[in-house]
Symmetry: C2
Subunit: 343 residues, 2 copies
DNA sequence: CCTAAATATTTACGCGCGCAAATTTTTAAT
DNA sequence: ATTAAAAATTTGCGCGCGTAAATATTTAGG
């Protein structure tokens, strides 16, 4: 049963029989008031319909409970999935995530970081574009707020980085592919919009060398974020012209692979590792739809959960102790080989 | 070149040689000040690094420039795509979109709406769960803020609804399928989490009757948002047991269809409308990945752009004239038949 | 029961800006 | 040039809460 609406903290404190500063303390950190007081306030909260005014709260506060989350493109399921988990981690810890997508545009990443400033975030979790990012904007943010990068790293910006160990994951895939059939060619974008692509290419080269195989890289023209389209068009071209030097293609990411699978299907090629198949295709990331491609895509699963939680925890530590980490940390999690039918 | 940092509007007004209230007016609406004054302010903005404090701005304001956008699940590419366009429409018009995903949980939709309150949004754009939504929470929001529903409608809640004309779109698809081959069975979730599913089922029934065909509906068990998984499991079961009464299946949405295509592939069934194919599969929504399924999915394209723009415009009109629409409007856009290879 | 520590209250100021009313200045129209 | 309208300025209050210091009260430990 809701009584008459409470208009501000003063009124709420009055009807609760508690002083306003104590109520203020409660909202700032419920654990900071005596258990009996906490109980009275919470009983009152059930009875009366009140929540503090966010703007007034944050207006005159040293540090807010806001955490900015900026990702390059929420239309990419990889980012929507990882952003989702980061968001939940923030909420669980009592923070207010402010999610912003840069819609594939580094320029908007800059704007997002700028407008984040005015929200005085306690900290920022950023999955940057990488080289395409406006490094000054990122450094500026990092100067004024605790910053943790995830997914993609930029030099020594921010206080921590969390991502996947591309060297390990690609090596594992190359090892598997070499062991189970012909060594893989590598298929990627010519101008990748993400630094992981470069790491994966290098990892491929290193791994092939270790296995004593001849590397063979194919780069697709095309700009933007329509990876499936590019994978289909350019991959299809390569497939139909029999340009690949082996019957196995490792794609730089699942979205390219999905496009390539589509192209292969269109060309009547049978994809898979069983007898009678024409080609093997593998990807990287374990994109949410990779399980449902035809055939299901063999890929590397990134540990979304671990990355999201670790990124948040790295930030959380700084918030708790009220200072930057003494040393920049870089954490990478291992990828997991997900064997399906495509390779 | 940036001079010393400005601390507040007072200081900025001083260095600009303009009074604070006028500067305030400018930030509230640049068009409300004389062109010459505007030019001086903007020159000053280039010179000095200042942006008004968001919290102070909104704290004592009748109405903010915030627009709340709430969608059921950003992990679903349909919603991430439409949310993206709504966001951009807001930004273009000078508003600040606040995007919130309910992560598939009606309970979180309620929480999102509650916490939106405290941001005093100028208006709210909501793609509700439908029957699963907490109707009281939605009505409460609608009582205090202009509200436009999109994608899914709820009775007469809010001041406007914008979506797709399911009756038209499904009829068009049924007509096409009947004309080009065997009449379609209908495949859907038993307990759909979205009111559009019910409309589509009804549209299917009506349309089949109009065409003098016997309708045949198959409902998949399963809860939650893993539509592909459900489509694959349950669809696969139906396919392998030859339960479908015709060789054509119309799925309630593309995600189910994607799962079913995956199941068909696994069973070695050939999907398509050409000779030698075993089954035709069609979907609804033109999901971003439907173009890359194997075979590419024949489906109905919703007009994302039109829906997003119209939803925003309906809200914008209310904001402009400062009052609710005199009458609740419902706008539906026609779907577009996208013929690919699957049906 | 006494004492010290922990917690709550009282009092008071200020954050940065919105907003309104009265006044002055600028602009546009006659 | 005169006048009315439009825009800018001055003045000043208040939003709702954070926060700090001094004081009072409660709690825990012996």
């Amino acid at each position: 049963m809701r009584y008459s609406k409470i208009r501000n903290m003063e009124e709420f404190a009055a009807v609760s029989g508690i002083s306003r500063p104590t109520v203020s303390k409660y909202f700032n950190d419920p654990g900071s008031v005596r258990a009996s007081t906490r109980a009275r306030i919470e009983a009152s909260l059930k009875k009366y319909d009140y929540q503090p005014n966010v703007f007034a709260m944050n207006q005159n506060r040293r540090t807010t409970k806001n955490i900015g989350i900026v990702v390059p493109n929420l239309a990419d399921p990889f980012f929507s999935e990882i952003a989702r988990r980061v968001e939940l981690a923030c909420i669980d810890a009592g923070y207010s995530p402010i999610l912003a997508s840069s819609h594939g545009s580094p320029e908007m990443e800059r704007e997002n970081l700028l407008s984040l400033r005015s929200l005085k975030p306690a900290g920022v979790l950023l999955a940057p574009f990488g080289r395409m990012s406006d490094e000054d904007a990122v450094k500026d943010i990092s100067h004024d707020f605790p910053l943790v990068l995830f997914d993609a790293n930029i030099g020594d910006v921010g206080q921590a980085f969390v991502g996947t160990d591309n060297a390990q994951s690609v090596d594992m895939m190359v090892e598997y592919l070499c062991r189970s059939g012909e060594p893989p060619c590598f298929f990627e974008m010519k101008s990748p919009s993400n630094p992981n692509a470069n790491k994966r290419r290098q990892a491929y080269l290193d791994s092939m060398q270790r296995h004593g195989r001849e590397p063979s890289i194919f780069q697709a023209d095309g700009e933007g974020w329509h990876f499936e389209e590019i994978g289909k068009t350019e991959g299809g071209r390569l497939l139909s012209s029999k340009a690949f030097s082996t019957n196995t293609v490792l794609c730089s990411n699942d979205r390219l692979a999905i496009g390539m699978l589509s192209a292969a299907y269109g060309l009547g090629l049978r994809v898979g590792h069983t007898e009678g198949c024409d080609i093997r295709v593998a990807g990287h990331d374990d994109h949410p739809f990779s399980k449902f491609t035809c055939p299901p895509l063999t890929t590397i699963a990134q540990d979304y959960e671990a990355i999201a939680n670790r990124a948040f925890n790295d930030l959380f530590e700084m918030l708790e102790q009220g200072e930057r980490l003494s040393e920049r940390t870089e954490t990478t999690f291992e990828g997991r080989l997900v064997m399906r039918d495509s390779a």
